[in-house]
C-alpha cells in the first residue's frame, strides 16, 4: 500500500519531457518532488505563474509570490507571471499537457466530484471545473477510500459534479486504473496489495484484465 508520497511518486512517472503540468492542492503538489532524472517539465499554477519552483527558504517569503494553494513559493529561471484570464487561456486552450488533481469521488465513466458536499462544505470549485473541462490528460491522485472507509471509486458520483467523463487515469494508495469501457480498468497494483483488496475497496465496476496485474515499479 502506498502513502501520499508514494502516490505522488507513481504519478511522477507519467511526466514526459516538455510537459507543462498543473498540480492541484494536496497529494498532487507532492508530484513536483519526484520529477524523473533527465526530463524537463514546467509547473503552471493557475493564479498566474509558469515555472513554479520550491518553497522559499525561511526569511525569503514574498507575499506577492504564491501558488494556487496560497502557499509562498519561488520562481525558477525562465518563469513568467500573467493574469488569471491568460492563465486559464493556457488551461482551456490545452497548452497545459497534464493536470493532476485530487477528488472526493470518481465515477466509472470518468465523472469527478471534488468541490462541494451539500449542506456541509461549500468552499467553491476554484479552477477545478475549468481544469477538468479542458485538460486532455487528467490524472486523479487520491486515497482509494475515504475516512469512513467507503470507496471513492463509484458507479456514479453522489456529490455534485466538477466535470463529466473527463478523468483518464486514477492513482490511489492501492492501484493505478485507467477509465475505459465504462469501468476502472486495473493497470497496476500498489506494492504488496492483492487484486482482491482492490476489488474489495472499489464500489464501481473494476475491470481486471487477467490474474497477472503487475505491481507498480516505484
Amino acid at each position: 500500500m502506498l502513502d501520499k508520497n508514494g502516490i505522488a511518486k507513481r504519478i511522477a512517472q507519467e511526466l514526459q519531457h516538455g510537459y507543462y503540468v498543473n498540480l492541484g492542492i494536496g497529494i498532487p503538489t507532492l508530484v513536483a518532488n519526484f520529477i524523473p532524472e533527465g526530463i524537463e517539465v514546467e509547473f503552471q499554477s493557475e493564479n498566474g505563474i509558469l515555472g513554479m519552483g520550491a518553497f522559499p527558504e525561511e526569511g525569503d517569503e514574498d507575499a506577492d509570490l504564491i501558488n494556487a494553494g496560497k502557499q509562498t513559493i519561488t520562481a525558477m529561471p525562465g518563469s513568467a507571471y500573467f493574469d488569471s484570464a491568460t492563465s486559464f487561456a493556457m488551461i482551456r486552450g490545452r497548452h497545459v499537457q497534464l493536470t493532476v488533481l485530487g477528488a472526493m469521488e470518481i465515477a466509472q465513466n470518468g465523472d469527478i466530484a471534488n468541490w462541494k458536499i451539500p449542506g456541509r462544505m461549500v468552499k467553491g470549485m476554484g479552477g477545478a471545473m475549468d481544469l477538468v473541462a479542458s485538460a486532455e490528460n487528467i490524472i486523479v491522485a487520491m486515497m482509494h477510500t475515504n475516512k469512513r472507509g467507503e470507496s471513492k471509486l463509484l458507479e456514479k458520483c453522489s456529490l455534485p459534479l466538477t466535470g463529466v467523463g473527463c478523468v483518464k487515469k486514477v492513482v490511489t494508495n492501492l492501484a493505478v486504473m485507467e477509465i475505459k469501457d465504462n469501468g476502472f480498468y486495473l493497470v497496476e497494483r500498489a506494492p504488496g496489495v492483492s487484486i482482491d483488496e482492490i476489488v474489495e475497496a472499489t464500489d464501481g465496476r473494476l475491470i481486471v484484465p487477467g490474474d497477472n496485474i503487475p505491481e507498480m515499479d516505484i
Binding site: D83, S84, V122, G124, D130, S134, P160
Partner: protein
C-alpha cells in the same frame, strides 16, 4: 498631454461607492488585494454590496473585514474556503453566494471590459454551474454560454503606477487585477508606488491608463501571507 487620474487619498478615491452597488475587487487569496480601499469601505460603512472577487479574504483580513461588518449582501467568487464567517453567513442564508469557475470568472471580467457580451466555454458543463445556460457543441464538445460581468466600481491594487493610471503588477499579485480594471464603470487603482508620468517604460505597462479613472498611493501595506510555507535554509 496625458490625462491626470491622481487623487489625493483613499477617501477621495472611494467617493461615490454607495450601498447596494456592485464592486469588483482584485486579488487572489490575500495576494494583490486593495488593502487600503477595503479599510476605507469598512470605515464608511457602505453596505448591501455585491462583491465580485475570486476569494472572500480570511476572517480578520481582506474582504473578511466587510463580511464581519455584514456589509456584503452577495458574493460572486470561485473559492471561499478560507473564511469561517463567510461559511456561517452563507449557511444561515444571510449571504447570497454565486460560485463560478475561476477561469470563467476571469474571462467574464475581461469580457465585461472588452465589450464581449457573451462567450462559450467548456467549464461547468454537466454541473450545477450549467443551470439554465445555453449549451452548444463545438468540435464535438459541449460548451456553455457565459455572459460578461461588469461593476459600478472595480478596485484593484498594483505595484507601481503613474498619474495617468498606467499600472504594473508584481509577480502573482497580478491575478484578477488587470481584468477587473477593465470592467469597472469607474476603476480605482491603489498602488504601492506612484511615480510621475513618464517614469514607467510604456513597454512594461500591464494595465494601460485608459482603464483606470482614479489612482492613489496606498498609505501602508500589510501584505499578509496566508500560507507561509518555507524550507530550511541550506
Amino acid at each position: 498631454m496625458a490625462i491626470n487620474k491622481q487623487v489625493a487619498n483613499v477617501e477621495e478615491a472611494c467617493k461615490g461607492v454607495r450601498s447596494g452597488m456592485t464592486l469588483m475587487l482584485g486579488g487572489f487569496g490575500l495576494c494583490g488585494i486593495p488593502e487600503n480601499s477595503i479599510a476605507e469601505l469598512v470605515k464608511t460603512g457602505v453596505n448591501e454590496l455585491t462583491c465580485i472577487s475570486n476569494n472572500a479574504g480570511v476572517d480578520d483580513f481582506g474582504l473578511g473585514l466587510l463580511l464581519q461588518g455584514k456589509q456584503i449582501k452577495k458574493m460572486i467568487s470561485s473559492y471561499v474556503g478560507e473564511n469561517d464567517e463567510f461559511e456561517r453567513q452563507m449557511l444561515s442564508g444571510e449571504l447570497e453566494v454565486d460560485l463560478i469557475p475561476q477561469g470563467s470568472l476571469a474571462e467574464r471580467c475581461r469580457a465585461g471590459g472588452a465589450g464581449i457580451p457573451a462567450f462559450f466555454t467548456p467549464a461547468g458543463y454537466g454541473t450545477e454551474v450549467q443551470g439554465r445556460k445555453e449549451v452548444r457543441m463545438f468540435k464535438g464538445k459541449p460548451h456553455i454560454l457565459e455572459t460578461a460581468l461588469e461593476a459600478d466600481f472595480a478596485i484593484v491594487k498594483a505595484w507601481k503606477g503613474d498619474s495617468s493610471g498606467n499600472l504594473i503588477f508584481k509577480a502573482t499579485a497580478k491575478n484578477f487585477n488587470p481584468l477587473m480594471a477593465m470592467a469597472g464603470k469607474t476603476t480605482i487603482a491603489e498602488v504601492e508606488e506612484l511615480v510621475p508620468m513618464g517614469e514607467l517604460d510604456p513597454n512594461e505597462i500591464h494595465t494601460p491608463g485608459i482603464f483606470v479613472q482614479r489612482i492613489f498611493q496606498g498609505e501602508k501595506y500589510e501584505k499578509r501571507i496566508e500560507q507561509r510555507t518555507t524550507q530550511p535554509k541550506v
